[in-house]
Amino acid sequence: MPTIEGGLRIDVETATDWLVLEQIAPDALQGGAEKLPSRLGALMDEESGWDEVVIPELQDFFSGQLRKVADTVFEAQKDAGAQGEVPDGEVLIVREDGAEWYGALNQARLALERRYKFGPSQEATDVEEFSAAKRSAFIRSQFYCALQSVLLEHVLE
């Protein structure tokens, strides 16, 4: 839900909702997020000094995005837990953090795509035939994509 301050509020209603949000960073890391800068720079030649300078900077930058998301979800869970037994709560993405969230979600989707080879989402019509792990990953990827779309429309400038 977009907020008046230009951010986004995610209403969390079940324990499963929390699990999915917690899974953003692990999905990115298990899919080799730390190698993303190398993959992006694979076509750059030696004269550019890409390996020595750019890749380490990008690794730090991308790690920061995942840390931001993990910390925000963790703090939101703590706040929700402090309010009682019911696991519902909310995750607030402030406008200033929109780009970091978008980047973290993108890392997760890139990693899931690399690992499971879903292809363009509109062509993924054989979900029922996926293994349980692949189906779960596909559903998470779709959720991350939906969240990115909302960020793109309401938060990112």
């Binding site: 980047g103 993108n106 292809g119 793109l152």
Partner: protein
């Protein structure tokens, strides 16, 4: 003397190779959203939305698009920026 001449030749050759005009290319991938690619191209290169959309469609349809041409150093900076937005990008010597 021979090794000194060889080192000088290598430095001149490398310097010559880096001169001239370079193309910045953006490549398609199955993850990045089309609206996002458009926004990134606008932000990085300062293009109007229509031009950015045309380039995005070229990436989407042809698999890659030439988004900028110029000297090597700014070309590298542009590629670095595109990578920071997680777009697959590279540069090539312009013909």
């Amino acid at each position: 003397m021979k090794s000194g001449a060889t080192i000088t030749e290598k430095k001149q050759k490398t310097s010559t190779e880096l001169e001239g005009t370079w193309n910045v290319l953006v490549f398609d991938d199955p993850v990045n959203l089309m609206d996002y690619v458009t926004k990134v191209i606008q932000r990085v290169f300062g293009y109007p939305r229509e031009k950015a959309e045309d380039l995005m469609m070229t990436v989407h349809v042809a698999g890659k698009a030439l988004v900028w041409t110029g000297a090597r150093e700014p070309a590298e900076l542009y590629v670095q920026q595109l990578h920071s937005y997680q777009l697959q990008a590279s540069l090539e010597k312009a013909r």
